[in-house]
């Protein structure tokens, strides 16, 4: 018989990889997720792929969100996804937001990003999508 467990509050890790300092978007996203009942861990600026993944592991998060407005989204996401898989964390979905041209959004999805939120995305749509990903990810036994 399954034990009755209190459903855990979903946890999302947000970070800005690379050197970009445009953090208006990531902060708005963080506040919107928080108001939607999600626990948000914001790592801040200039994060390396390694520091993001080790924080994700330590904090046992359900989703990793990257915010990039300096155009380096493809290179950074590719590296992060590959290291994530190597570390055996492939069940943590990664979402990417920022200044992302449509063709690059397709490439990001192809390489394994669970969702892409380019500039102009509807805030509620984004929150709903992250919540859904978190719930799916929760179902996985880690």
């Amino acid at each position: 018989m399954p034990a009755l467990v209190e459903p855990r509050i979903p946890r999302v890790l947000l970070a800005k990889p690379g050197l970009d300092g445009h953090d208006r978007g990531v902060k708005v996203v963080g506040m919107a997720l928080r108001d939607a009942g999600i626990e948000v861990i914001y790592l801040g600026l200039r994060q390396s792929v390694g520091s993001i993944l080790s924080a994700a592991q330590q904090e046992d998060v359900d989703v990793i969100g990257l915010s990039v407005l300096s155009g380096v989204h493809l290179a950074v996401t590719r590296r992060l996804l590959s290291e994530r898989d190597t570390l055996g964390l492939a069940d943590i979905p990664v979402v990417v937001g920022g200044t992302i041209p449509p063709a690059d959004a397709d490439l990001l999805r192809e390489m394994g990003a669970a969702a892409v939120f380019p500039v102009g995305i509807d805030l509620q749509e984004m929150v709903a999508s992250v919540k859904e990903l978190a719930a799916e990810s929760r179902g996985v036994d880690r």
């Binding site: 050197l19 208006r24 708005v28 914001y42 801040g44 390396s48 300096s70 041209p101 449509p102 509807d122």
Partner: protein
């Protein structure tokens, strides 16, 4: 429109249905002054655009120095009247192109400058005694200035003939943009070293552009924008005056940088209020006796934050209104955004259209025929007063928190900015704030980038790293190391660092080496978590 909802400006100042002569004060004339006369509400110069249009300055830079040099030649051919250099993030953060943290970012959002040679190539064939050049550089401003001075030296141009502007407002980097390296206190000292150095040797150069623009683009209101800019200005001026440098010796070369967003009349009124506020501040706080010390000159950056990815051509219209507001506010130089900036670095076509926007307003619209054409408008004058009043209250609040450095270190201003940005995002999401193409008059088709986007050159970073390697192979490493060590030791004293950085630049020290010497003295700043 919902009649029960209070109508306000974007910064929340109540707006009535009608303004009449009762809304302007009896002493209006003294609050305005004539153009070119204190308190400069009507403009910093007597004849404004009748004599000369504003400087049309499109921000640009990408790839290597040679790539950007080609874009500059194009812009000058198209009638642009000055240059504005965008640097890549490694250059802004004091990292050489070979640094591991620079890996993906070399030449990406601006030009990569590692050495004096890069700076010489950036301006190859462009006579520096005839151009005004703006540098969007902050934490590494002393190093970039030194490279520029050496490049000019090698063109045979004297320092005293150089015109242009260094952004060099490091305090606002802690609020927005975030290209800080060192903690706030030593950062202010470096910024002031540059101002002091330029005040004696570069009489035509603006050594700092004190800006509210970036905090505004990050989310703060128009009134907060003014208060933040003046709080920063006070931090620098107090520091310089405490060093024993007379206010009138540097104040005439201080310049300012404000945003121009969508609330048209508020933007016009804001910069009119800014000129009056600065005149009062310079006179009462610093006892300015040179009228040039009280004359606020500003660069208007139109707004990227207000542009949309949806229906991107609409951005041309938004930018036109913003540029017009900047002109009616009396800007000295203007940048208009590219309509495709929600997608990429602007394409050549989009940059040309931005420049044409300025040229059409300047040459065809007739708005430049008379100085400060909105003066005396019941609404504009009333709004100018209301903005000055509100911005002064916010400035007092910041002073009560110990001034810009303390309020910034405590994260207070960052919180205000983020809260405002979030409110705006929610209002757009729930439709209480209209955004055409986003929440009203929405097209069904998917978001589509306009025209041909700028395509970053995938080989630029590797080419830049090769350039750096071959430069390093040719210089004397011993003299560079000695000069860099000297920068570090001067930084540990109260002596001005500029002469030592200039010496290091001359012997081929790299940007990263010089920045590291300063890191050794000052350490690196880490931002506190916002919640």
């Amino acid at each position: 429109m919902n009649a029960s909802r209070a109508v306000t400006t974007e910064s929340g100042i109540p707006v009535r249905e009608l303004y009449t002569s009762n809304d302007i004060p009896a002493d209006l004339d003294s609050r305005l002054g004539l153009p070119g006369q204190p308190p400069f509400t009507r403009g910093p110069y007597e004849s404004m655009y009748r004599e000369r249009l504003w400087t049309m300055r499109q921000y640009s830079g990408f790839g290597s120095a040679e790539d950007t040099n080609r874009r500059y030649r194009y812009l000058l051919d198209q009638g642009q009247t000055a240059l504005s250099v965008a640097f890549d993030l490694p250059t802004q953060l004091g990292l050489d192109s070979t640094h591991e943290l620079a890996e993906d970012e070399v030449g990406r959002v601006g030009v990569a400058i590692d050495t004096v040679q890069d700076m010489c190539d950036l301006f190859d064939g462009l006579p520096l005694d005839q151009l005004s050049v703006n540098f969007t550089i902050n934490a590494t401003a002393p190093i970039i200035l030194a490279f520029y001075l050496v490049a000019a030296e090698r063109q045979g141009v004297a320092m005293s003939d150089l015109a242009g502007t260094l952004q060099n407002d490091i305090l606002k980097e802690f609020l927005a943009r975030k290209t800080f390296i060192y903690p706030p206190e030593p950062s202010v000292r470096l910024a002031c070293d540059v101002v002091e150095f330029c005040s004696t040797l570069l009489p035509r150069f603006n050594p700092i552009s004190i800006t509210g623009y970036h905090a505004r683009e990050a989310g703060c209101s128009a009134t907060q924008e003014l208060a933040f800019a003046f709080a920063d200005a006070i931090a620098y001026c107090d520091h310089l005056v405490e060093r024993g440098i007379p206010f009138d010796s540097f104040a005439p070369r201080l310049s300012f940088h404000f945003a121009s967003q969508m609330d048209f009349f508020e933007e016009v009124a804001k910069v009119r209020a800014a000129r009056r506020m600065w005149c009062e501040l310079a006179t009462t706080r610093y006892g300015a006796s040179d009228p040039n010390s009280t004359r606020l000159r500003f660069f208007s950056g139109c707004s990227g934050a207000t542009l949309t990815a949806q229906q991107p051509l609409n951005n041309v219209v938004r930018s036109t209104l913003q540029c017009l507001a900047a002109v009616l506010g009396g800007a000295q130089s203007i940048h208009v955004m590219g309509y495709d900036e929600a997608y990429e670095i602007p394409s050549e076509e989009s940059v040309r259209l931005a420049l044409r926007t300025q040229q059409i307003i300047g040459l065809e619209s007739g708005v430049t025929h008379t100085v400060d054409p909105l003066a005396g408008s019941y609404y504009v004058e009333s709004l100018t007063d209301a903005i000055a009043l509100r911005a002064t209250e916010i400035l007092d609040e910041i002073a009560a928190q110990g001034g810009a450095v303390n309020a910034t270190t405590a994260g207070l201003l960052q919180r205000w900015i983020a809260e405002n940005a979030y409110t705006e995002a929610r209002e757009i999401a729930d439709g209480t704030r209209a955004k055409v193409g986003v929440n009203v008059f929405v097209d069904d088709e998917e978001m589509q980038a306009p025209g041909a986007l700028f395509i970053p050159d995938a080989t630029a970073a590797a080419r830049q790293r090769d350039r750096l390697q071959s430069f390093l192979a040719q210089r004397s490493s011993v003299s560079a190391a000695e000069a860099v060590a000297r920068v570090g030791s001067v930084a540990g004293t109260t002596e001005n660092v500029m002469p030592s950085i200039l010496d290091a630049a001359r012997v081929g020290a790299t940007l990263g080496e010089i920045a590291d010497a300063l890191r050794g003295q000052f350490g690196e700043y880490r931002e506190p978590v916002p919640w």
